[in-house]
Symmetry: D2
Subunit: 379 residues, 4 copies
Amino acid sequence: MGMIGGGPGAFIGAVHRMAANLDGDIELVSGCFSSDPKKSKQAGKELHLSALRVYASYKDMIRLEKNLPDNERIDFVSIVTPNHLHFEPAKLALENGFHVVLDKPMTLTLKEANQLKEIALKNDRLICLTHTYTGYPMIKQARQMIKKGLFGTIRRIVVEYPQGWLSTALENTEQKQAAWRTDPKRSGIAGAMGDIGTHAFNLAEYVSGLSTTKICADLNTVVKGRKLDDDGAVLLKFDNGASGVLFATQIAAGEENNIKLRVYGEKGGIEWKQEDANSLLVKWLSKPTEIYRTGNDYLNSFAKHNTRTPAGHPEGYLEAFANHYRNFALTLKAKLNNRKAKAESLDFPNADDGIRGMAFIENVVASSKAKEKWSDFKV
Amino acid sequence: MGMIGGGPGAFIGAVHRMAANLDGDIELVSGCFSSDPKKSKQAGKELHLSALRVYASYKDMIRLEKNLPDNERIDFVSIVTPNHLHFEPAKLALENGFHVVLDKPMTLTLKEANQLKEIALKNDRLICLTHTYTGYPMIKQARQMIKKGLFGTIRRIVVEYPQGWLSTALENTEQKQAAWRTDPKRSGIAGAMGDIGTHAFNLAEYVSGLSTTKICADLNTVVKGRKLDDDGAVLLKFDNGASGVLFATQIAAGEENNIKLRVYGEKGGIEWKQEDANSLLVKWLSKPTEIYRTGNDYLNSFAKHNTRTPAGHPEGYLEAFANHYRNFALTLKAKLNNRKAKAESLDFPNADDGIRGMAFIENVVASSKAKEKWSDFKV
Amino acid sequence: MGMIGGGPGAFIGAVHRMAANLDGDIELVSGCFSSDPKKSKQAGKELHLSALRVYASYKDMIRLEKNLPDNERIDFVSIVTPNHLHFEPAKLALENGFHVVLDKPMTLTLKEANQLKEIALKNDRLICLTHTYTGYPMIKQARQMIKKGLFGTIRRIVVEYPQGWLSTALENTEQKQAAWRTDPKRSGIAGAMGDIGTHAFNLAEYVSGLSTTKICADLNTVVKGRKLDDDGAVLLKFDNGASGVLFATQIAAGEENNIKLRVYGEKGGIEWKQEDANSLLVKWLSKPTEIYRTGNDYLNSFAKHNTRTPAGHPEGYLEAFANHYRNFALTLKAKLNNRKAKAESLDFPNADDGIRGMAFIENVVASSKAKEKWSDFKV
Amino acid sequence: MGMIGGGPGAFIGAVHRMAANLDGDIELVSGCFSSDPKKSKQAGKELHLSALRVYASYKDMIRLEKNLPDNERIDFVSIVTPNHLHFEPAKLALENGFHVVLDKPMTLTLKEANQLKEIALKNDRLICLTHTYTGYPMIKQARQMIKKGLFGTIRRIVVEYPQGWLSTALENTEQKQAAWRTDPKRSGIAGAMGDIGTHAFNLAEYVSGLSTTKICADLNTVVKGRKLDDDGAVLLKFDNGASGVLFATQIAAGEENNIKLRVYGEKGGIEWKQEDANSLLVKWLSKPTEIYRTGNDYLNSFAKHNTRTPAGHPEGYLEAFANHYRNFALTLKAKLNNRKAKAESLDFPNADDGIRGMAFIENVVASSKAKEKWSDFKV
């Protein structure tokens, strides 16, 4: 694995590295960690990489890695730059034979996302998009239970992602994370909705197995002077007729990262939240609520496949993240060996998720400006 | 106290009686418990009332009670009939000098509610509307903290009331509660939104101290054949510019009565839910979340005034309900003695709350049918 | 009902009154609320009692009430004085034909408790002992599930009652509750163990259906100058071979009244705590934990019988307390009508519980002083 | 790093590897994974190790690694075998210049533990003992708060470790984990107390900063035919006079791994449990309880140093485990560079913790057999 981005001051680069390291099956061997070659060198050194494989630009990296012998060359690149720097490196990597792990949202625009999928298809390369939350074992459990129809037809979905860290104009301080996330040039047309609304949207569609058909959005910029939305709520309609509410805010002072999902069907439903990630509440119309817990024998194969520790030893964000890396790696390994990956391994977020995420951003921004209540969800 | 309604098969009548009994300051001495005189008699007998004061009709009751000597006559009537039977008895009672406790929603229409307020004013009578949830001590605590400005300007409100009991067509069984609540003739133009959406709305406005100015509603009838909404979500704007989400559903299979409120300001906010009614989470931008708990010395006078047991001994729904009765009674006693009631006693839901609740129903139904996103909230 | 004790400054008297009032089937009509006749008068007035039935001494009260005609006279007395004033009034009441509700612990000594039971038997009178926590519906549910053998043989019990209110020498202030509870003359030979340890002990035996056979106690007086234990832990053995841990402390700063019980059998077990009194966690060896909740149809008849509000509307301490009053009253009514009370009504704490509670106090104090690890539990 | 043990069927070996991998600063390069050379080879292969560095015996491993050049040779060995195979390999490693990471309990006997410490001292080598739970950031936070005296003198400690997985005679199935843990030859003289009681004991002493002086133990073998204790409770006295309760059981059907600690001082205290590992409840005598959460700015340097993700993104068991590896590695690196490690890095469990753990096992077993209540805690 090689990494593009993730140098000093970055948050998500380190997360990707820890996630990739965890299982001992992926090795970081090359990288271009900053647009500043000096900083890239320094980062590479701190990461114990050979200086030969720390590059001054991502273009160099892809060109030079490509020239390495098969058994030395990296298999894939992990792109962990701000949103505006996803498309070009991903495109170059895919066109030069590298598989790609990409942080979300996939690109700066829906158009780019669609293009990237095309390029990947044409070059027969894999894309993995790190929508962290679908990596949690209890989320896998929930999806399969709904898929099996245990709750009957799904009727109501509530998904939320409240954060408080942008309650003040943090972007005017030295905080790099806040700066690029509130800058339309680097972040795209949406702020909170792009950064965390996409996670909520992805989680809801992934677990319910439903597709959004119509939305009604209300985006707000609460902190004065901010250029993008930092708060918003969306009403949704799904393809089976179910209704939804999604809200995502970065000005909910005192909130951390408690993304939460509730899905209700005819006979029962599920509730899950990141702050208690190893529990899945399973509710029933006329039976006691059950608490499904990570690591137990009674779980389905998807939940078990994505678990490392026995029940009661909590797994967290990094493990969920690592599940995507591991499943991507298992799928890649199967591909390299001309085997068919098993269903559990194939279950990682891919270009299609990325495209729906970009569509969410574009639709939600358009709907927020519209006078009509409902807008069709266009992909 | 006399009661109108609340005979066999009724749920809320018994709640009113227990709430009124709890503190030993209110005595039920008369009633008309059913439109069927036999049933009314029987109910009165079971409630240990003198047969002389159990009436065949509410008209009889008001007429005959009025003729009793001052020191025997009831001071107020408690009206606990279905919505379509609120206005007439309340009007009659008020016009004949009785104060009134009324179950919510106040009336069948906004017009009736406005009229009732007028009548009460003209006759100098009190109206208490039993919006249960604002009777909880921790809700009193929250309101006062926000009022004092501890969290700065309020920016985002999330209020929800999920229930699951109408997940099936229960109204087609013998269930009386389900039958009248889903019948437009008895319930009015809204189903879930009238029954529980009004509670959520009232709670949000009460705690935040804000008034709704615009709404965008999406009401659904999920169970086939049902005549009123049983599920819905509403986007809101408040008079200070804050945004809100409200959802209320009776088809969330597996949910009980977990009404929950979150209010976020610039510096922090609060979270409260009925399932953990004695805790108030107080969140701060950069300090640990605090758990305020009923019964502690550090609480404000409004919370303390509405508490009966020491910290850690949970108070529940009946105590919250009883707080409204107690505060109404204290206010009434002050009035009868020409004293000014203290602020803590005056803090019970009244006709103004009832009017806003009826306005909520009418606005939300209209907005749900509108093509435009935003409708002004008209009272 | 008549009340002995419970005047100004008392805590538990008001609780008894609210509990008795709640269901509207018990009426407080007489009382002797204080050893000071003036204070007693005043309290009676505030409680809206006829001055004729507010007595200067409990002896007067029992003598004079006895002389009243059958249909006016009280049926029972409720004794809510400090521990040293339980025996004499209870004895007199029983011997004069009154049934008795008694606050726990039953008496000052085990001997007195045994005597009182004898007297009640001889006079065919009922004793109800208000061990509040066994009045909770979920506790009823738990007991019946264990009784049915759903969890197999019980193996391990953990019961705890942590409070923090005596973390400082509160008894040296004006706090009346603290003063008598830490005074051996009024409280008896145990402090925390008598006050709350007995509750924990009663809860454990009630729910498990087991009897303690051996104990090993460690009682401590943590706050300097205090005369009784304010903290302690006990190891227990039960008659089926199960082991237990009990701890009760009043110096756990920051704790309120979170009495909690866990019982583990071969196949599963239960967990309940007062802070979440309407939930019962039911754990299984190889199935998800279930959350049983007050007010649901799936509960057993004992849980349902002791519930007033629909699922999700929390019931609390006063309702649990009221359940004992209600069941006592139902049993009394059956007795007065020569009917057999149903099992659910008979299920209130009685003299046998009181005797075991007093035995607990005497055994635990003796064991704490013993050098040997295990002492037989003697009744 | 080289590993001894942790081949097929082992649980804790994989945990050690993931923990060591996580931060990318430790590389597994050699190992002897099984006493069966074939299995060892196979495991090494699956772990992507060079076949040259996968050894047939731990003796070979230490001898041959020692002969490698400085910059190739491993710095330390990680010993993850059952308890009876700790001492010999650790001794050999230390005597040959390797630092050692050792799973707990440290050895089979207290004598061995003392010897091992001596050997490490003589050879100037580090020992890290993986008492997982002290690696959690909120545990670090708690320890420092108590150390600073924020809660005054500590008075009462409650620590518990309930598990349910040995509720049946699992050791009679193929379950390797159950087999060795219940076998005195491989596990030592204690079962549950050695396996998880030591964790509870270590956590209590670590957080409180206190040392146990006296104990009173009650160990039980609940499952028929089992050779070691599977359940037990202990009363404790600490060197400042505080009292404690510890219980550890493996027959609490339905429990997972919810180790929990409560410490109460004069002014407040803390509560932490693994199931909600990222929260620390901080209780106060007369202020609201606070919820300290991993990843926040308001935490102390020890908590922050042991955290990888932003607040709200849960860290779990593997991260806690990895903290010990990271701190050990940082200390080792400082040592290799003749620098002084900073206090936060030095804060990992070492030989002294291991010795106290072995003392706990020996004392607790002896006390359980004693007739006297209290036994001095001897090290």
